[in-house]
Amino acid sequence: MTVLGYMANGLVFSSIIVLGSIGLSLVYSIADFANFAHGDTMTIGAYTALVTFGAVGGLGGAVLGLPFGFFVALVVGIGVAAVVAVATEKLIYEPLDIDSIGLLITSIGIAFIYRALIQIGFGSDFTRFDVQQLRPIESLVPYGVRVTLHDVAIVASAVVLVVGLHVLLQYTDLGRKMRAMADNPDLARVSGIRTKRVKLWTWVIGAGLAGAGGVFLGLFNQLSPRMGFNLLLVIFAAVILGGIGSVYGAMAGGFLIGMITQLTPFFSNVVEALPIGPGWLATLLENLITIEYANAIAFVIMVVVLLVRPNGIAGEGAT
C-alpha cells in the first residue's frame, strides 16, 4: 500500500475518533470529569441504529452505498445516545455532591450499567448492520488508495457534523458560556448563565456526537457490547493530546491519533528502509515500530508532544 493509502485509512478511522473525542472533551471541561462511560455511549448509539435500521429498512434509495433508512437510523442513534446521556445527568450526576474524581468513579459504574444492559438485550456476540458490503472505489485503486463509498460516507458525515458544531459554537453564545462555566461555575451563575441548561446542551452535543461515532464505528467494523469501551483509551489519548477542554484541540488530537495508529505499518517500512545509525538502534527500532505496538506508539507520541507543548496542541503555550 502507498502512503496515500495508509493516510486514507487513517482519515476514515480518525473521523470516528474525532466524533468520540469532541464529546469527551466537552464533558471533561463542562461537567469537569473524565467520563469513562463515553465509550459505552457510543455503543448505545450503534445499537440504537441497529434496531432502528432493522425496523425501518432501506426506505428506497441510497446515497454513497448507504440506504436512506440507514441515515434515519443514524439520526435516531444520535438522538437516543443524547437522551440517555441527559437522563443519566439528571438522574445520577446532577444530584451527586462530589468532586471530579468521584464523578469519574461514578462514570465507571455507569459504563458497567450501560454495557450490562446492552449485553442483556443483545447478547455479547458481534453483529453488523445489514447493508451491502462494498468493494473499493476503482478509480482510486491505482493510487494505492483502497476505500469504499461507505468510508467516504463516514468521512463526509463526520465533516458535516463537525462543521455543524463549529457553526453552532461560532455563531451562538453557547461555546463561550461553556467556557465560562468550565472556568468558574459559581460566577457563571452569578452572571446569569443558566448553568444547568448549558450542561444539558453539553451532554446533548457530546453524547450525540458519540452516538454518531458509534454508528460509524459499527459501519466501519462491527457491533459488539464492548466496541465503544475498547476505543475509549485511544479517545482519551486524543483528547489529552488535543488539550483538554478544547473542542478544536479534540478534533486535532483525534485526527492525529487516528492517523498514527493507521500509519504504523508505514512507519515500520520507513524504519526498515532508513540507514539508521548504530546497528543496535536500528534493530531496536525495527522491533519496536511494528503494528503490535501501534497503540503504544500513539501513546508515546502523545507523551512526547505534551513534553513539548504542555497544554496540548490547541492549548496555550507553556505556563
Partner: protein, 254 residues
C-alpha cells in the same frame, strides 16, 4: 420586573426612612454553610436609591449577607424580599434577571476568558444593546479597555477588581451588591471606583456594599450597618457610626 410595585403588604414603614418600601430586605435571616450557622437573626434593608455600607470584623458574616441575598445560600429562616416579593432560595441566575447584580469578594472574574468575553458573559441575560453598554463601560474604565483581548488571569489584582465591577454593571441592575470593591486597589483607583459607585447610584441603582475601607466606604453611603458574629450591632448614618466612640474603637480602627 415589577419595579417598585407594592401589591403585597410588606409591613414597611418602621425603618428610619419610614414611608418608602425597601427594594431589598433581609428580615430575621438565619443562614450559613452546611450545618455551620453564620447569620443569626440578621435584618438589613436597602431603600430605593440608597447606598448602604456593611462593615464589621473579618468573619462577621458580611459576605454571607450578600450571598444569602443573592441566592447563593438559602436562608434557613426569615425572608429575603425584593420589592416585597420573597426571593429567598431563588437561583442566582434567575435573580440576575430580576435586576440584581452581584460582585463577589473573591474568584470574581473568568480567568480563562478575555476581558471582552468576561463582559459579554456579564450580559447573557440582557435582551439587547450589549455592544453599547460594553463600550460605555470601556469608556468608563480605561484600565481594562487597554487589555480587552487579554485573558483575565493575566490581570493584576487591581485590574481584576475593576473588571469584576464592570462585569456586574453590564446588566444595568436595579440593585447592586458589591463585596469589598476597593480591596487591593491603589488609592487613586479606589477613589475612581467609589466615584463610579456613586455614579451608578445616581442612575437610580440602589447599592449594598461591604467595605473594609470604612472611611471612604461610609463616606459615600447613606446608611451603614455594623455586623458582628452574624448579627447587626449598630445601624445608622455614616456620621452616627463614625462618631460613636465604641463602634469606631471596636470595628473601624479609629
Amino acid at each position: 420586573m415589577s419595579d417598585g410595585m407594592t401589591d403585597d403588604t410588606t409591613g414597611a414603614a418602621d425603618g428610619p426612612h419610614g414611608g418608602t418600601d425597601p427594594v431589598l430586605s433581609l428580615s430575621g435571616v438565619d443562614s450559613g454553610y452546611g450545618e455551620v450557622q453564620v447569620l443569626d437573626d440578621c435584618s438589613v434593608r436597602l431603600d430605593p436609591g440608597e447606598i448602604v455600607c456593611l462593615v464589621g470584623p473579618n468573619g462577621a458574616g458580611k459576605s454571607t449577607v450578600l450571598k444569602t441575598a443573592f441566592g447563593m445560600l438559602t436562608p434557613w429562616t426569615g425572608t429575603v424580599a425584593y420589592h416585597g416579593r420573597d426571593i429567598g432560595g431563588m437561583a442566582p441566575e434567575e435573580i440576575v434577571r430580576e435586576g440584581i447584580g452581584y460582585v463577589p469578594q473573591t474568584d470574581n472574574v473568568f480567568g480563562s476568558l478575555t476581558i471582552d468575553e468576561n463582559l459579554r458573559m456579564g450580559g447573557v441575560a440582557r435582551d439587547g444593546g450589549l455592544e453599547e453598554v460594553i463600550e460605555t463601560l470601556y469608556d468608563r474604565f480605561p484600565i481594562i479597555e487597554r487589555k480587552r483581548s487579554a485573558k483575565a488571569k493575566t490581570l493584576s489584582g487591581g485590574q481584576r477588581q475593576v473588571l469584576a465591577f464592570a462585569r456586574a454593571l453590564v446588566m444595568e441592575p436595579d440593585v447592586l451588591l458589591i463585596d469589598e470593591p476597593s480591596a487591593g486597589l491603589a488609592p487613586n483607583t479606589a477613589d475612581d471606583v467609589f466615584e463610579d459607585v456613586k455614579a451608578v447610584n445616581d442612575m437610580d441603582t440602589a447599592i449594598l456594599m461591604v467595605e473594609q475601607n470604612v472611611t471612604k466606604g461610609l463616606g459615600i453611603s447613606d446608611r451603614g450597618y455594623v455586623l458582628d458574629q452574624g448579627t447587626v450591632r449598630f445601624e445608622g448614618t455614616p456620621e452616627e457610626l463614625l462618631n460613636d466612640e465604641e463602634v469606631s474603637q471596636l470595628y473601624l480602627g479609629g
